[in-house]
Amino acid sequence: MDKKGFELSFGWLFAILVGAIIIFLAIYAAGKVASNQNQMTNTQAGKELGILLSPVETSLDSGKSTYITFPRETKVGNICSEFGNFGAQRINTTGDTGITSGDISGVSSTFYNKYLFSNTISSGKTFYVFAKPFEMPYKVADLIFFWGDKEYYCFVNPSNNVEDEILGLNLKNIKVVNSVTNCSVGSKKVCFTRSNCDVDVSMNSQTVRKENRTMYFEGPLLYGAIFASPEIYECQVKRLMKRDSELALLYATKADTLAARGCGSNLREDLIVYADMTLKVDSSSKLSNIAFASDNLERRNHDLLCQIF
């Protein structure tokens, strides 16, 4: 009987083994390269987003709005750190480049002079940006409010100023209505005259209640409390107060030098006290005290021959 069988020689075994190792290494390396490429693209997008936010900042204008479109669906992460002289604003983006599956976020870009009020993670392809200067009593910074094209807001009975601002700047994804029933399904209801909405605003007590937390606001921080998650809001308020404190010291030095040049103001001591006060702010609930001191400083500065700020 003729027995025919497949003979697996040592040569074949060797080739299969080494070939398998080479193919495995090649696939592993390709995966690594693709994931690095993805991370690189996301890191670059994060930095570019931070840079693109600069032109939105105001100079003499009271508000500015624009939008930023990414080439693909993107998640923008807002990380706020309150440590250091000014705290830090970190921005990272996560977007599927199509090279790899899964979310690989880019390395965060750090900015010390930006204050972004948004959810911890905002998703979408187009993002809407709205900036307003924050003054206490001098300009402290530009507040940047940021939301994605998948977030819809419904402002119910807002005050005239708020309504004028929203309609005047033509802010996208924000609807102004008279009754909650007129709000679209899935939109976040922001109520100014009633409670039990997603966001409850009280203009009298200057508070915003959201996610079972109460945030206090002054001036344009109202929008910050509406658009940002409570943790981000509280962190940004502390960062703003740190910058307010540094600016107060800067103005105190200026008052000193102007006094030496023959233009005394007697504001130096008050500015130093104000700097200390703002530096100690650990929650938005202290904002009303700061606003009171700030109004006092503003009145005194206004009466000066050579104004400090």
Partner: protein, 171 residues
């Protein structure tokens, strides 16, 4: 004495295959090296471009930053820098990393003056260096008005032509 070693056909095949595999590995390693070198260069370039872009946007907006903007007057001025404030900013180390810049200098263009400003020489001086961390830089410039208080008679605000130059980190 001549020593001859005889290889079997199978041994020769294994050796051939091993050489081919080594050659393939070397080829892939070379391709990977070329790829990484090109990609590193392009990454380096895009990092430099991003920093330059950041510096351009920063310099464009710096005159309206609260630390620079001239606000102590009833007249509003979009690109006026308060030199009295900048002089106060000179010795503040807290601001060294605030704008992510390697170099930040404010120079007077007209009327021409020279020398670094100090409290003793101000305002009759040419430039104020706020940040100077590097000798290798590419500056971005923007023309601004430099305003300061002059104590003459009732006192007035004097503005001169200046330039603000900023440079991001180089790699």
């Amino acid at each position: 004495m001549i020593c001859s070693v005889k290889y079997s056909k199978a041994q020769m095949k294994i050796q051939e295959m091993a050489f081919v595999l080594v050659a393939i590995m070397i080829f892939f390693a070379l391709v990977a090296m070329i790829y990484f070198s090109i990609s590193m260069n392009s990454l380096k370039q895009s990092a430099v471009d991003l920093r330059a872009q950041d510096a351009i946007e920063t310099v464009r907006k710096l005159s309206s930053a609260p630390e620079f903007a001239f606000t102590s007057s009833s007249r509003s001025c979009a690109s006026c820098i308060d030199l009295d404030k900048v002089m106060a900013l000179r010795n503040r180390t807290d601001y060294q990393n605030f704008w992510n810049l390697e170099r930040l200098v404010i120079e007077k263009v007209f009327p021409e003056d020279s020398g670094e400003c100090t409290p003793a020489t101000f305002p009759g001086c040419g430039k104020i260096t706020l940040i100077d961390k590097s000798t290798k830089y590419t500056s971005q410039r923007a023309y601004v008005s430099l305003c300061y208080w002059v104590n003459y008679k009732e006192g007035y605000v004097k503005c001169e032509l200046g330039v603000i130059s900023a440079a991001g980190k180089q790699i």
